[in-house]
């Protein structure tokens, strides 16, 4: 009888200790989770900022000025565009016709 009680007492102590340690672990994990959530929010903010930056740097007005002023490019007029009709899939595309020579073509750099 006393031996049985001793065994139960030991089990009780062990379960108590494991409760303490698991509670501790749970709290550690919770702190980690919280930190991860804060990091996620920070990353979200960073992502938003980068998205705004991306839009700012890829603005059409910016690209157009850069192309026209810095790279000396110009929009081709419709006269200088040659449309090529591709034949059905699987066959080789036909060669482009020689572009129509117009006054416009001479104006190019």
């Amino acid at each position: 009888m006393t031996r049985l009680s001793a065994v139960f007492a030991l089990l009780l102590v062990l379960s108590g200790l494991s409760l303490v340690s698991s509670q501790y672990r749970a709290r550690q994990l919770f702190i980690d989770l919280d930190r991860a959530q804060i990091a996620a929010r920070k990353l979200d903010v960073e992502w938003r900022t980068l998205q705004i930056d991306q839009t700012n740097y890829s603005k059409h007005s910016l690209i157009e000025t850069a192309a026209e002023r810095d790279l000396k490019m110009q929009k081709p007029s419709q006269r200088r565009i040659e449309y090529i009709t591709l034949p059905e899939h699987g066959t080789t595309p036909i060669e482009a016709k020689t572009p129509v020579k117009t006054d416009d073509a001479k104006a190019g750099p």
Partner: protein
């Protein structure tokens, strides 16, 4: 040890009455009873209060601010997005700063020192904001100064990377993150989201270690994907700006609609404003001329009269109408054309934009039928697309129409519409007689079913007939040859209207030039409506001021959308003396 015999002591030998010891015993018992009762009371009856007191020492409510939803265009380009910012305020009584520290604060906030001093000298208030919407870096630096009494509060700053170009679509929010205009105002509720709060247990390091209860889960605002395409918007905006500058116009507006889905692809207004910097905002800049302003559409309305006449069998496309001698009297009033066109067919009435021809056809019909047609295409009807301030326009009840009014209304005078209404009405011609509901949000149309269902207003055959007439109007010999686009067949109608002056009569020299059309005619994809308000550089006809904008925008948009050209690439024929429409 030898025991002491106390009772032998004479002092202790005093005989006391027995009740005294019993009284002490009793008192002790009562005292213990009191303690016991108190313990029972604390443990059993006042637990709530005590537990609350305990919790206060380790539990805390954390607030989570919801982030306002992003607004993006149809390709995911950001149009509006919120990033954290801080507001810096001062508890005046607690403030304890050296002049050098104050100067530092002023420098970091980029405001004059005098302003800071003036604000903290406020005699009435105990708390003043120094500056709101301060970027995080500056706020951090101010925090590092550690001045007592200086407070920081977290808030959000709304960025509009597309600036003035998109201002009239997106709108803006105020410092408290509440929408004030445009989509920001219309969808305020779903954009704003819901702040959340939760109770947690904290340890001695102030870290939350356990979630006790979630009082309210935070809901970030919904992200909105609009139907506008920033590439097309840029195109429309720049072309409109060129035209408004060139013609010294007071204002201008343009809208591009997707014929298949009813999506608004681009919507631009001039003058405009930068939503990131609204210090010098005026009412003129805020006006949304596409949606919230109305104008008399003028000749752009003629095709609806003709379509109705064709549907009712009043005329056929080749019926000859006599418009000579260029004047037509109805009762006491006379209407006129610019030239005496003589006897022309119904097709030519549209092509040459003859007021007399249109009026004569209109007078063969019942006012009620015309009114029903205008109503069916949405004119005078309250718009259902939920955009703040979108107007219904005005089409008077047909019972009060006098014959002269019926005649003038047939060519677009005496009623008012918004530009987007007329653009939407034109989807009827572009879509085989169906008028399509508009949307500001991207619809997920698939390649298999690219069409959103519309409402049939006129039969398919008549819509096709009208397309043919409108193509003639936008071709050589029509009123708007400048609307032609190389590689694509276009169709459309010009409008030039006098503006009503301060005295309620038409002004001789103030006009609205407009053009509404669609392309490519073989399989229409877009409707574009352009309006130039008060061009004052000598020319004012819709065919001269608005049609070139249409041409440039249509060419660019169709190329961007990868629409196959439907006409041979050839030089355009733009005659020098295209027929002018009548006012």
């Amino acid at each position: 040890m030898k025991s002491v015999r106390f009772h032998a002591s004479p002092v202790l030998a005093v005989k006391l009455p027995a009740w005294r010891s019993r009284a002490v015993l009793c008192l002790l018992f009562v005292a213990f009873l009191a303690l016991l009762l108190r313990a029972i009371y604390l443990q059993a009856f006042s637990t709530r209060y005590l537990q609350g007191q305990g919790e206060q020492r380790y539990m805390v409510t954390l607030e989570t601010a919801a982030t306002r939803g992003k607004i993006t265009d149809r390709n995911g380009d950001v149009l509006a997005s919120s990033i954290p910012a801080y507001s810096i305020g001062v508890e005046i009584e607690d403030l304890d700063a050296t002049p050098a520290e104050l100067a530092d604060v002023a420098r970091l906030l980029e405001m004059p020192l005098a302003d800071v001093k003036k604000k903290i000298a406020d005699p009435v208030r105990r708390f003043v904001y120094l500056k709101r919407q301060v970027p995080p870096l500056a706020a951090q630096a101010i925090g590092k100064l550690g001045i007592p009494g200086v407070r920081q509060m977290k808030e959000f700053h709304r960025e509009y990377p597309q600036g003035e170009m998109m201002a009239h679509v997106v709108g803006y929010t105020n410092v408290d993150d509440t929408g004030q205009e445009g989509i920001e105002l219309a969808w305020q509720k779903s954009l704003a989201g819901l702040d959340g709060s939760r109770r947690v247990i904290r340890n001695r390091l102030n870290q939350p270690i356990e979630d006790v209860a979630s009082i309210r889960a935070p809901h970030d605002g919904t992200d909105l994907t609009l139907s506008v395409d920033s590439r097309l918007q840029y195109l429309a905006f720049t072309e409109l700006k060129k035209a408004v500058d060139f013609h010294h116009a007071k204002a201008g507006a343009i809208v591009v609609l997707d014929v298949r889905t009813g999506e608004v692809l681009a919507l631009a207004n001039l003058p405009t404003y930068d939503p990131n910097d609204r210090r010098k905002l005026t009412g003129e800049q805020l006006r949304n001329r596409v949606l919230t302003d109305t104008y008399e559409p003028g000749s752009t309305l003629k095709p609806f009269t003709i379509a109705l006449a064709l549907e009712r069998g009043v005329v056929k496309p080749d019926t000859v109408m006599q418009t000579a001698p260029g004047k037509f009297t109805i009762g006491p009033n006379t209407i006129s054309d610019t030239h005496n066109h003589g006897a022309i067919t119904v097709e030519e009435v549209i092509k040459l934009s003859s007021n007399i021809g249109t009026a004569k056809i209109a007078l063969k019909m019942q006012p009620q039928d015309m009114w029903e047609m205008y109503t069916a295409v949405g004119l005078g009807q309250a718009p259902k697309w939920g955009f703040p301030g979108a107007v219904a326009g005005r089409v008077r009840p047909f019972k009060s129409w006098r014959p002269i009014e019926q005649a003038t209304m047939s060519y677009g005078y005496g009623l008012s519409v918004s530009l987007i209404q007329i653009a939407r009405a034109y989807t009827m011609f572009a879509r085989d007689g169906e008028i399509v509901p508009l949307t500001f949000f991207r619809t997920d149309a698939t390649a298999a079913s690219p069409y959103v269902k519309g409402t049939q207003v006129i039969p398919v055959a008549i819509a096709r007939e009208m397309r043919h007439m409108l193509e003639m109007a936008a071709g050589p010999g029509g009123t708007a040859p400048k609307a032609q686009v190389m590689g694509y067949r276009v169709a459309g109608k010009t409008g030039t209207a006098h503006k009503v002056g301060v005295h309620g009569t038409y002004d001789g020299n103030r006009y609205v030039g407009s053009f509404v059309g669609f392309a490519p005619v073989s399989n229409p994809r877009i409707v574009v409506a352009v309006m130039i308000d008060e061009p004052s550089n000598g020319i004012h006809y819709g065919g001269d001021v608005a049609a070139p904008v249409f041409s440039a925008v249509v060419g660019g948009v169709l190329r961007t959308l990868n629409v196959e050209p439907d006409s041979p690439i050839k030089s355009l024929i733009i005659p020098n003396d295209s027929p002018k429409e009548t006012l």
